[in-house]
Point group: C2
Chain length 372, copies 2
Amino acid sequence: MELKAMNNLMTKFSNRKNQLYGEKEEGKKVFGLFCSFVPIELVLASNSIPVGLCGGKNDTIAIAEEDLPRNICPLVKSSYGFKKAKSCPYFEAADVVIGETTCDAKKKMFELLENLVNTHVMQLPHFKDEKSLNLWISEVEELKELIEKESGNTITEEALKEAVDKVNKMRKLFYKIYDLRANHPSPIKGSDTLKLFQFAYLLDINDTIEVLEELIPELEDRVNNKEGYTGKRILITGCPMVAGNTKIVDLIEECNGIVVGEESCTGTRQFENLVEGYTVKDLAERYFKIPCAVAYKNEERIKRIKELVKELNVDGVVYYTLQYCHTFNVEGAKIEKELKEENIPIIRIETDYSESDKEQLKTRLEAFIEMI
Amino acid sequence: MELKAMNNLMTKFSNRKNQLYGEKEEGKKVFGLFCSFVPIELVLASNSIPVGLCGGKNDTIAIAEEDLPRNICPLVKSSYGFKKAKSCPYFEAADVVIGETTCDAKKKMFELLENLVNTHVMQLPHFKDEKSLNLWISEVEELKELIEKESGNTITEEALKEAVDKVNKMRKLFYKIYDLRANHPSPIKGSDTLKLFQFAYLLDINDTIEVLEELIPELEDRVNNKEGYTGKRILITGCPMVAGNTKIVDLIEECNGIVVGEESCTGTRQFENLVEGYTVKDLAERYFKIPCAVAYKNEERIKRIKELVKELNVDGVVYYTLQYCHTFNVEGAKIEKELKEENIPIIRIETDYSESDKEQLKTRLEAFIEMI
């Protein structure tokens, strides 16, 4: 059962490196991004290229551990290792890297990273209150100035409007895909949607939109024909799974599970909430809403998880934590308690990028999926 | 070789619980504090009692791990465990607990703690810039309002002035003790100064001042008589060692080392920088200067470590990290590099509250102290 759009996605991904370096040679600046908190609209509006950075592979962890502690999250180590090893084409293309103070490990890693690449760090506040929003708005304003300076291009109102509309368009397409996944059977596998989310960070946004627009009618056809995947319906929630890391989704789908939703920065946190206006403040407000566990009293997230369980007809929740990610790990205890109170099955998984725990995880996931 | 002031300290510590509960019965409110970032002047000026909370013992970690992940810092787990087990008299006395968003684990732990005790969390910004200072000033202003509300007492200008002068007086006494420790031999052991710092969080400030005023002439006598401790002179830098945790200082002093300084929240970060004025803003500015590793680009700390190495005639630096404390751990890599470039010997130790690694640590510390 093949989806043409997924083949197109893979082709576009294969071509991305050449495309990116081609545009760079023509004079476009490349801004490397770590996190879904950075408003890519500003980069696009400066006629520059936003691109996600590698950080999903075990291979680059050893070189990172020369500088970083062993017991911090694999995503942070892998990212730093990719830059140190010069083995990520996007990292190597990046003229500037935009970081943000999400978690302790990333915040402090940037202090080392800036020795290897031009790095700008945004201050993401801890709180979700008005004062913090104002601080965040000023951080986004500063980012705009930085992007203008580094790209040499002024961000005009018109260009920003165009960028906002384009990124919103992509978001709406992802919303549509979520609507389609609510069906029984689900018209697409989680391992495919994960690739969509992962590559959306890497590809030219026009290409992502093209793939999504091709995919939606294919999925609609499947829904109309009641074709698709019928395993136990799983919502994944937790840490991002960046390109290279498909471990848990693969395991779930090997065990008669079908991932129908991702409450994740490779998932809902990537596309939910449109930018509602065309000012920098509108932009800042949309990104500030992202319900990441790094926030103190991140109440929106648990609310959203419960909604997704209903909307997507979920049978069970897999709570996914990257090892040593304190914020998602502690928040997991709270969420587990709340879901259990509503009789929503949940399993908490903490893992890294290695293969060593795969068999053990498979056994646990099999038992969980069988039970629900 | 006994110091009378240290006996007095131990007596005061033994009496503290009765004293505290006596004052509480008379109607004073108790504010429990976790961290050196909370301006105790405001608590004192409201005629209430500031008291540090327990968090230095292994005993309470198992009960904490019922709710918290295993792999977060022992200080955070131990603190939470003390409250859950109701085994810390200061925690039990506290009408309100004041937390702050220092690190990921603590920030998220407070979300669970507030189910057990009335908890107010201050937002400590990630950055050291003007915008962040302004946010911090408003957090301190809010704290003032909260303390007034919870204590039922207005914080008058006069009371605040008195509190500022009193806490500054204590700080100046600690500065004086540091001056005395610069001597060869050092007139006091590190295990004793650690107790001073630990108990300063717990005792009535008048009692701490009394002990310090008694201690200083005793130390001056020793300096004049060239009495004291002559081992290799060690500066400890890193995570706080709260009451109950004396593991590393004890090990160093068992291995012919003598701790002459602590760049720590149980050390210099506790007393350095006076409050220079009598407004809430002056208060906020002093606390904002604390060079804790949680800050992005915490440049002041490495500068201060290098100064302390000179001022205290240090032979070697022990960099102390509590397990899974990402900020101090990553900053350690940077500091190690910088100290080595200046030929200052440094050893990095990462440990928890258990006894299991004691022999191994002793072997490493012995080798380090012998080598320097």
